[in-house]
């Protein structure tokens, strides 16, 4: 597989607008469920950037958690070690916490499954709320986000990727057979 040249789908200001919108929806969502002390965890790499933005906007007092799910993927020996694998860091007690799990794009749902498996290796949370910047089609597992920045139907052969974090950009590329 090779990737054709990418084109910019959305630029920085548009993405900041999406994050601002997500913040409002998330705030309501948490209030409705009487969650006043969420712990935010972002999935490396794009999810960690969005989690950082939400962490600031919600003025969360605790530290931000970071997950690298490379070693939790069920296809680890096929997709291998991420060349930029980073340690997961959750410097708070997960037991009985209300977790807000953040990723940039949800497609198959496998990344989220792996992330939840890893979170449960840190402890047993009271709840997990899933937040994604982009929800696209292509789900292979029954996992749906609770808060979404933008729902975007894309053809199977198209791939969307967040770049950043100094300047955010959403890029779409078309996968073609080599």
């Amino acid at each position: 597989m090779t990737e054709a040249p990418r084109h910019i789908f959305m630029q920085h200001d548009g993405i900041i607008d999406l994050i601002d919108g997500m913040t409002g929806i998330l705030r309501h969502y948490l209030r409705d469920r009487e969650i006043d002390d969420p712990a935010i965890i972002g999935i490396h790499t794009g999810g960690a950037w969005i989690a950082h933005e939400l962490h600031q906007r919600l003025d969360c007092p605790g530290p931000l958690g970071l997950l690298d799910i490379s070693f939790y993927r069920d296809d680890f020996t096929r997709i291998g070690v991420n060349p930029q694998v980073r340690p997961s860091r959750i410097e708070f007690d997960v037991d009985e916490r209300n977790i807000v799990l953040v990723d940039d794009v949800i497609q198959s749902g496998r990344t989220i499954r792996a992330a939840m498996n890893e979170i449960f290796d840190f402890g047993r949370p009271a709840s997990i709320t899933l937040v994604t910047l982009i929800e696209r089609n292509g789900r292979q597992l029954p996992i749906q986000p609770d808060v979404v920045g933008l729902s975007l139907p894309l053809p199977t052969h198209e791939h969307i990727r967040l770049t950043g974090p100094e300047t955010y950009s959403l890029e779409i590329s078309r996968r073609t057979d080599a």
Binding site: F71, T77, N117
Partner: protein, 328 residues
Amino acid sequence: MASDRRQNIQLTPDGRLRHFLTIEGLSRELLTHILDIAESFATLPGRPVKKVPALRGRIITNLFFENSTRTRTTFELAAKRLSADVLNFNASTSATAKGETLLDTLRNIEAMHSEMFVVRHSQSGAAHFIARHAAPGVSVINAGDGRHAHPTQAMLDMFTIRRHKGDFTPLRVAIVGDILHSRVARSQILALNTLGVTEVRVVGPRTLIPTEARALGVHVYHDLDEGLRDVDVVIMLRLQKERMDGALLPSESEYFRLYGLTNKRLEAAKPDAIVMHPGPMNRGVEMDSEVADGPRSVILQQVSYGIAVRMAVMSLCMQTHAEERGEA
């Protein structure tokens, strides 16, 4: 470069790790990648569940033809933390002791669907031999072979140094003691030079430093005080009494007097120098207990980091072979 890679059975043609037999022929980028991955595994002991599921369902065999409880235990723990199943094959009670050839033993363990052999052997080159004859899709990790190599020990030492010192390039490192018999020293020297340290010194009596040491790119010292001057890292080696064929040393007490590390002698090194030892340590021979248990000693951290580094090597090799088996 490409021809070097073709000759190095450790690597695939595109430079990924297939076996881990020696530091020789591995690039700085690959060594750094191993250290980076180990960094993510080093956080596991702080979690309630100290495992990741990466190698769930895989079988790893420890093939130990030479006793080493500590090394075998850390490899076993590393494999288990990757969720692999572990077979321990003890040569002293094994079929090879009853006359079966090594290759027949290998085939039998392969038939049990083991995908990785961790090999410890008293003969130099044993791990290479097994790697050359292992079935396609089986990785071999050298856990120490004769006087040749002990690459995972060297990498856990590099990991320990990086954790304490950050950047390798400005460092001066002294390796002190029985260089002649030490597979660890040879692997450490290769790793330190590959990672670009300023200077590697070896320090020891003439009888315990091989004549070809300078060819490895090290500076040779026979005076401990000179050798320790302004170094950032001191690596003490075990006096391998079991490997001493002849009277290479007058006595242990004289060795300690000349080459034993004490707090007084450590003053020659930089004030923030760290002290390492691959173990097992002979207290009062290589090192005074005051140093071994002192604030500059990172010896117990080395043991802990060894698990993370071995996990990194195992996961990289297993991934490469999974791809070669056509699972990718």
